[in-house]
């Protein structure tokens, strides 16, 4: 019922506007073309200047309202560089924005048609044109120079001591693999994949795989560089790390990498944001299908000691895939609970889609 009412009201508004529009057309014919034009010109000229003033106030108000909703400072060393870059660009483009918009609307208002005035025949002026070719060119050169400095820094090779974590996208969750004690990831091949106990397709022949473990959360050590080895099992995904200002596509068949140094722990962020539920999230930033919006994993940034304690509790995927055959009567052999819960989460995620 309320739906019909809404439609009725909308139609009514349309009809009223139409009637007014029609009537004003007749009035304008009666008044004469010239007089009508003068009047509409005055009204619209006035509205243009009002739009400029209210618009600029609106820009300020919008900023005031929303700046608190974005985390203004990155949680990684590299991210801070990007923040700085954004600030520089914001200042330059902001100045240009305000000046050009003011000129545009102010000129429109000021030079609205007046009787007896003639426009100024001004077809070109080489000096002026040269000025506004050169100034933007210089400004952009500066931005390119700064931008590329950060770009090369961010895309440079990861430091030798960086920890390595592999993250693989699949519809619709992330598979996280740690290299284990040896610090090296074992080989994998997509035809080895099975969703029961080998989600990334590890090659069990490879000795390096024996200690690699899968995790449902990514644990990172504060102030320690981390290199992500990124891949995908099915379609293109993207590892989006908004708090660290990092992002890299996960492309099937073509491994990609990115590295950064997280420098604020999750606990510190909870304090800083005043949000006890704060959590670093990995979002999928490349359209990957119907469950795209729910493709999430969490990151915990913690101290070395906390990390070591966590890592010690992880069970190698090899052990999950090869349960000790000699001891069928003792399935509770040490790490079973942790492993089980991890498997359950994967299973639940799958069931959702």
């Amino acid at each position: 019922m309320s739906g019909y009412l809404a439609v009725f009201v909308v139609v009514l508004i349309f009809v009223v506007i139409f009637q007014i529009a029609k009537a004003s057309e007749y009035v304008s014919i009666l008044k004469g073309e010239k007089k009508t034009r003068q009047q509409t010109n005055r009204v619209n000229g006035f509205l243009l200047i009002v739009f400029l003033v209210l618009g600029l106030v609106g820009v300020y108000y919008c900023n005031d309202l929303l700046k608190g909703k974005i985390i203004l400072e990155a949680s990684s060393e590299q991210g801070r560089g990007i923040d700085q870059m954004i600030m520089t660009t914001l200042i330059i483009t902001g100045i240009v924005f305000v000046i050009t918009q003011i000129l545009l609307f102010w000129f429109a208002f000021k030079y609205q048609e007046k009787e007896g005035r003639q426009a100024f025949y001004f077809p070109h002026n080489n000096k002026l044109e040269l000025i506004w070719t050169v100034i933007p060119a210089i400004a952009l050169t500066i931005l390119v120079a700064f931008g590329l400095r950060h770009w090369f820094r961010i895309t440079s090779d990861a430091p030798k001591d960086a920890m390595v974590v592999e993250i693989t996208g699949k519809q619709f969750n992330w598979l996280i693999r740690y290299p284990g004690k040896d610090g090296q990831l074992g080989r994998k091949f997509f035809k080895n994949i099975n969703d029961v106990n080998n989600p990334v397709g590890q090659d069990w022949e490879d000795e390096l795989n024996k200690d690699d473990y899968m995790a449902t959360e990514m644990h990172l050590v504060v102030n320690k560089p981390v290199k992500l080895i990124i891949g995908s099992r099915d379609v293109i995904h993207d590892v989006g790390l908004s708090h660290f200002r990092m992002k890299m596509d996960a492309v099937p068949g073509i491994p990609t990498t990115l590295w950064f140094t997280p420098d604020v722990t999750t606990a510190q962020m909870k304090e800083k944001t005043g949000n006890p539920d704060f959590v670093y999230e990995i979002s999928c930033d490349q359209m990957c299908g119907a469950g795209h919006y729910s493709m999430k994993a969490n990151i915990v940034v913690e101290t070395q000691a906390e990390y070591d304690a966590w890592a010690a509790k992880q069970v190698a995927q090899y052990a999950v895939a090869h349960p000790a055959p000699a001891a069928p009567a003792a399935p509770t052999a040490a790490p079973a609970p942790a492993k089980d819960s991890a498997q359950k989460v994967v299973a639940v995620n799958e069931a959702k889609h």
């Binding site: 609106g58 050009t100 000129f107 048609e113 003639q118 002026n125 060119a137 992002k247």
Partner: protein, 608 residues
């Protein structure tokens, strides 16, 4: 058809080509009468109207889709039972399903980018204005021109059909990246809907090539006596460059689509490698999913200039006419468009900074991308200088032209952010990108289109649109566009990803619920205002105030030397000769001097 009287009166003044005089709407026994005049017409003006009206229909559909998915984004917890009545199981219980959401998003993008802002915009105005402004009786090949429209029409039919198939239309985004778009098992929209999408787009490319080649040859070969290239209005220059961009880049897109079709049906592995989908490993190995992105963006980036250049050209013309001033820096305007065309081919990989692209290669794309800001800045400064010390008439066309410049500045400046790869790492695929390209190529291009429609409506239909509705339309659209897209920059700065169905489970992004709600409400209001425009458009075709003078805006260009309702052939008798450039406004104390007026002795001395 109540405009029969007007149409009959226009037949008296038709030009060289013969027409069927005895046509009467109620009697269809005149073979070829109705059909050749309104359906398979060879007249460029009729074809322009066909493009425009088809474009308007698509625009309503595309915009309505955005209203639907904005309902989901703005009111994620609410249910709308009427949605189930129109969408059936795609909106069970009155809430759009994720599959339907992604289909709507994909179709919104495809429709608006290709069918509305490419075919509807440059199809309409290139067809209408090229022969009229260069002084030709029709296009170089009227038949090809007619085929161009009908290829577009076929593309439209196929795309429309895809909306009704059981598994739904394509839903992998308007960019249709494989493997998602290649594997029916990965997404329901990648089943038959994707095939229809690809077929439709292939037909669309055919339409673009037929049209584009025609525009280029008409501009190069069919200019009237005295119309040298540098005496052409900027509109024609912009259509010329647009056509060149299209002709050179659309074939690359087509090749990308054909490889995708092979991957889908012929078992090839151009884009596919190492896949494990729906519980089994696929046999494809050795392909590169990134290859598709290179092929796609080699068109995809020029495409945004294909959209914006015609708008730039028309805005330049409309600003000059209504400022009663010559466009400032004519040659700089042409030169900057040329620079944009060249650079447009060299920046495609800036859409791919985070695909794992070689950083060294990325650096070149940063440089070339930011270089585009220079010709763009020149254009903006020249537009502003054009209105400086003018004598401005705020016709609806003029207001939209001013709105175009405003949104082009706002959206163009954020391009400087995104073109810089280090910033793009953070902002890529977030709402910042949505805000950027909607303002700069969505809203701006629409403002250019609206400016063109309001300005040339008298030429199209011999009538005016209702001014009051036009002004309401302008103000709601301008204010609404900023209210919708400006705050999205902040969502993007927070890293909020695009193409998400629901943000409520994300600790990092759920703080924008109220904002999304607000944006959705504004979207509905702005959509209603567009419907008002559509009503005004169709109503005025039949009932609008009649144009009484051949040159209602006191403009200098050739289209205003034709009769009010020109027939096929445009001019009665000889095609007028051109003596001067099209921007002699307020020169030597005269309000305007048409292009057809010979130079006075004084002017010749100046060596103009």
């Amino acid at each position: 058809m109540s405009n029969e009287a007007t149409l009959h009166s226009q037949e008296v003044i038709h030009g060289a080509h013969a027409h069927d005089h005895g046509h009467d709407d109620h009697e269809h026994h005149h073979e070829g009468g109705f059909i050749s005049k309104y359906v398979f017409s060879l007249d460029h003006k009729t074809i322009a109207k066909q493009f425009l009206i088809t474009g308007i229909i698509w625009a309503i559909i595309g915009a309505f889709f955005s209203v639907l998915f904005r309902l989901q984004l703005g009111f994620p917890d609410a249910t709308f039972p009427w949605l189930e009545s129109i969408l059936g199981h795609w909106a069970k219980g009155g809430r759009i399903t994720p599959e339907a959401y992604y289909a709507l998003v994909t179709m919104h993008g495809t429709i608006l980018v290709f069918f509305v802002l490419t075919a509807g915009l440059s199809g309409t105005f290139s067809n209408l204005l090229i022969p009229l402004q260069v002084g030709a009786r029709d296009m170089a090949s009227p038949l090809m021109n007619c085929m161009s429209y009908w290829a577009f029409f076929l593309a439209s039919v196929v795309m429309m059909t895809s909306l009704f198939v059981q598994t739904g239309p394509a839903s992998g985004g308007w960019t249709a990246y494989p493997p998602l778009s290649a594997l029916g098992d990965a997404s329901i929209g990648s089943k038959i809907g994707m095939d229809l999408w690809l077929i439709s787009m292939a037909l669309f490319v055919v339409s673009q090539l037929l049209g584009g080649l025609n525009y280029i040859s008409t501009i190069l070969n069919m200019r009237t006596k005295g119309m040298t290239m540098t005496k052409m209005p900027l509109t024609i220059w912009s259509f010329f460059f647009t056509a060149i961009l299209g002709v050179l880049s659309f074939p690359v897109l087509l090749s990308g689509f054909i490889l995708l079709l092979f991957d889908r049906h012929a078992g090839t592995s151009f884009y596919l490698s190492d896949l494990f989908v729906a519980g089994k490993a696929l046999s494809n190995e050795g392909g590169s999913a990134i290859l598709y992105q290179h092929l796609f963006w080699f068109l995809g980036h020029p495409e945004v200039y294909i959209i914006i250049l015609p708008a730039m050209g028309m805005v330049s013309e409309i600003l000059a006419v209504n400022s009663r001033k010559p466009i400032f820096g004519y040659l700089a305007m042409v030169g900057s468009m040329f620079a944009i065309v060249i650079l447009a081919f060299l920046v495609w990989a800036h859409h791919m900074f985070v695909t794992g692209l070689n950083p060294f290669l990325g650096a070149f794309f940063v440089l070339l991308t930011l270089l585009i800001a220079v010709p763009s800045a020149i254009k903006v400064f020249n537009w502003i200088t054009t209105i400086w010390k003018g004598n401005l008439r705020f016709t609806p066309g003029m207001l939209f032209a001013i709105g175009f410049v405003s949104t082009f500045i706002s959206g163009g400046l954020t391009g400087i952010w995104l073109g810089n790869s280090s910033i793009d790492i953070h902002l890529h695929d977030t709402y910042f990108v949505i805000a950027h390209f909607h303002i700069v190529m969505g809203v701006s291009a629409f403002f250019g289109t609206f400016a063109g429609v309001y300005h040339w409506y008298p030429k199209l239909f011999g009538r005016y649109l209702n001014n009051t509705i036009a002004y309401i339309h302008f103000w709601i659209t301008l204010i609404g566009a900023y209210l919708i897209f400006w705050p999205m920059h902040y969502e993007g700065m927070a890293g909020m990803p695009r193409r998400y169905y629901d943000y409520s489970s994300w600790e990092s992004f759920k703080q924008f619920t109220d904002l999304n709600h607000f944006i959705s409400v504004v979207v509905i209001v702005v959509f209603a205002a567009q419907l008002m425009f559509v009503f005004n458009f169709f109503y005025s075709i039949f009932k609008g105030r009649k144009v009484t003078s051949t040159n209602p805006w006191s403009a200098t260009t050739l289209e205003w030397t034709t009769p009010i309702n020109p027939g096929h052939g445009n001019w009665i008798g000889e095609i007028p000769e051109v003596y001067r450039w099209p921007y002699d406004y307020s020169k030597n104390g005269k309000d305007f001097i048409p292009q057809t007026v010979p130079l006075s002795p004084d002017e010749e001395k100046e060596g103009h």
